[in-house]
């Protein structure tokens, strides 16, 4: 990003105002140390913005009396926090052994094709889809489980993919 571009960018709007701040304060009260609310605070940011920017990490650090470096360390440790914007529908497909032997990789192929995302981690040209492979989703008896945003869907097969994608499009 060029300096000129950065200067034109809109000023950062804080996440923790009004009701979201109230929710955070209620969460902070659950822990004997403010930092205990860090993971929940990051979830609130992601819920509001879809991803967690450096500016947002700095804001979280301020409201929880910690450093931006600590917050970044935490964000980068946990795979479910997005450090970049993702498609409107973020799809996570389990491809670990138990699902793998039941055809999970074919489900991935079908999803990449049908959504137009084409490549793992890439976002489709219409901005609607990002598909990633994840390690064990903990639903091994229902292969292949996938997460579309917060919707947990069991027993996905390549044949079911077109209809599923239509539903979310």
């Amino acid at each position: 990003m060029s300096a000129a571009h950065a200067a034109e960018a809109e000023p950062y709007q804080p996440v923790f105002v009004g009701k979201t701040l109230d929710r955070l304060n209620e969460i902070i009260a659950r822990y004997p140390a403010k930092q205990g609310a860090l993971l929940p605070a990051l979830w609130l940011v992601q819920e509001a913005r879809g991803w967690i920017s450096d500016d947002a990490m700095a804001e979280v650090a301020t409201v929880l009396d910690t450093t931006a470096a600590h917050v970044k360390g935490v964000v980068t440790f946990y795979t479910m926090y997005h450090q970049h914007p993702v498609g409107k529908n973020f799809v996570q497909v389990c491809t670990t052994s138990c699902c793998n032997i039941c055809g999970a990789e074919d489900v991935v192929k079908a999803l990449l094709e049908e959504t137009g995302a084409k490549e793992l981690g890439a976002t489709s040209p219409d901005g609607k889809w990002t598909v990633i492979e994840v390690e064990c989703l903990g639903a091994c008896g229902f292969p292949t489980p996938i997460l579309v945003n917060d919707d947990f869907i069991e027993n996905v097969t390549p044949e079911k993919v077109p209809e599923l994608v239509r539903k979310y499009r």
């Binding site: 659950r30 140390a33 993971l39 946990y78 795979t79 996570q92 032997i101 903990g138 229902f142 292969p143």
Partner: protein, 426 residues
């Protein structure tokens, strides 16, 4: 057998009785089914008496280690000087295991009740239930159940909070989980100090698995003698256990059996056996971190801590992964190694480097670029990854590799000699 299958006549249904019954999820429905009677009874008892009852039952931790639950509770300070905490490990992420998910999504109040009883026993005011981030449905169900139970004021002076993880297998390790609750990276801590001395927020803490706590109300209500009587083989393994059966199996799902039940009956009778025309090749009986069993070993294996050890593996979390003759063991072991490489917290060198190099060497073999000496290299690496790190993630990666090479060596050799076509690109 749990949802979506009907229970099999050979099951001993205790924890899974209401799997698939949506009414059991509600507070009213749970009370109607006898729920929260055990909590009422426990709260009227001395905490030490509750611990004693659980100790006498023989209940052992269902998360994987199999440590006696009541004994663990006695490690908490006798004299209370400050807050005590209970952490509930609902970060179920061990490949092959999906029992805690079913407990939470169908019988959330069983977990809440067990949690409150355990908190009373260890004299904790606050309990945190750490639910993995991907479990969106259990999270919603648990949130609703907790709100209903709180409204009915059943927990006395115990407060239960839900804490959502954010995608890290390692947070299922007890000290990593505590760091995660404290808002830190999920790096396991060096022990000692043990959690009962300095756990979450530096205070005395006990951590228990979901299935362990779900069994506690039954023990309080029906007595330790009843629980102890649920035993088919070794007297050191008592009660019932959920086994999550998955992979190449006709009817995957959770099966609840009395400790000591034969694994072959679970696979062939209760879960419908192999797909038509297929035969059993291998089985991982306790989640991906335990040694792989051959067909012969599987068919001799009794499902309790001692029985599975005798068969050459570990009971672990009870995640039974079944492989039929169509499975490519080399590829699947590579996938497991990749899983551990992805999930390593990277604190310890043996783990960070070992899991990554194991994966790379396995991929090289699968790409047809392997050499015979790679097999010895993998075994050497695995040996250096065992027993040398802060937690056992490193050992868990080494385990399937060691047992895989030992028991399915010819499959590795076929890729190296070119007898089998490469399935990956180098």
């Amino acid at each position: 057998m749990g949802y979506p299958q009907k229970p099999h006549p050979k099951e001993t249904v205790v924890l899974s009785e209401y799997f698939g019954d949506p009414e059991a999820r509600t507070f009213k429905g749970w009370v109607k089914r006898g729920g929260y009677e055990a909590l009422k009874k426990a709260l009227a008892m001395d905490p030490n008496a509750v611990t004693e009852e659980v100790k006498n039952s023989g209940l052992r931790g269902r998360g994987g280690a199999g440590f006696p639950t009541g004994l663990k509770w006695t490690f908490m300070p006798k004299e209370k000087k400050g807050p005590h905490y209970l952490c509930v490990n609902a970060d179920e992420s061990e490949p092959g295991t999906f029992k805690d998910r079913e407990i939470m999504r169908w019988t959330p109040h069983a977990l809440l009740e067990g949690t409150a009883i355990a908190a009373h026993a260890i004299r904790a005011e606050v309990a945190y239930i750490y639910i993995r981030g991907e479990f969106t449905e259990p999270w919603t169900v648990m949130t609703q159940a907790l709100a209903e139970a709180n409204a009915a004021k059943v927990f006395g002076n115990i407060t239960i909070y839900l804490h959502r993880g954010a995608g890290a297998y390692i947070c299922g390790e007890e000290t990593a989980l505590m760091n995660s609750i404290e808002g830190k990276r999920g790096n396991p801590r060096i022990k000692p100090p043990f959690p009962a001395v300095a756990g979450v927020f530096g205070k005395p803490t006990t951590i228990n698995n979901v299935e362990t706590l779900a069994a506690v109300p039954h023990i309080i209500k029906r007595g330790s003698a009843w629980y102890k009587g649920l035993c088919l083989s070794s007297p050191k393994s008592t009660g019932t256990k959920l086994f999550s059966v998955c992979g190449h199996i006709q009817k995957p799902g959770n099966v609840e059996v009395t400790m000591g039940f034969p694994l072959k009956d679970v696979i062939y009778e209760m879960c419908g056996g192999m797909r038509p025309g297929r035969t059993l090749k291998a089985c991982i009986p306790g989640g991906s971190s335990v040694p792989i069993l051959t067909k012969e070993e599987t068919e001799k294996c009794l499902l309790d801590y001692e029985g599975v050890a005798e068969a050459g593996s570990l009971l672990g979390s009870g995640g039974v992964i079944v492989f039929d003759d169509s499975a490519d063991m080399v590829y699947q072991i590579m996938r497991l190694a990749r899983f551990y490489a992805h999930e390593s917290c990277a604190q310890c060198t043996q783990c960070r480097e070992g899991t990554a190099w194991t994966t790379k060497i396995m991929e090289r073999i699968l790409a047809g670029k392997g050499q015979m000496k790679d097999l010895d290299l993998l075994l050497d690496l695995s040996e250096n990854m065992t027993g040398k790190t802060i937690c056992v993630l490193s050992d868990s990666c080494a385990t399937p590799v060691i047992s895989g090479i030992r028991k399915f060596r010819s499959e590795f050799e076929d890729y190296i000699t070119g007898k089998k076509r490469p399935v990956m690109v180098a």
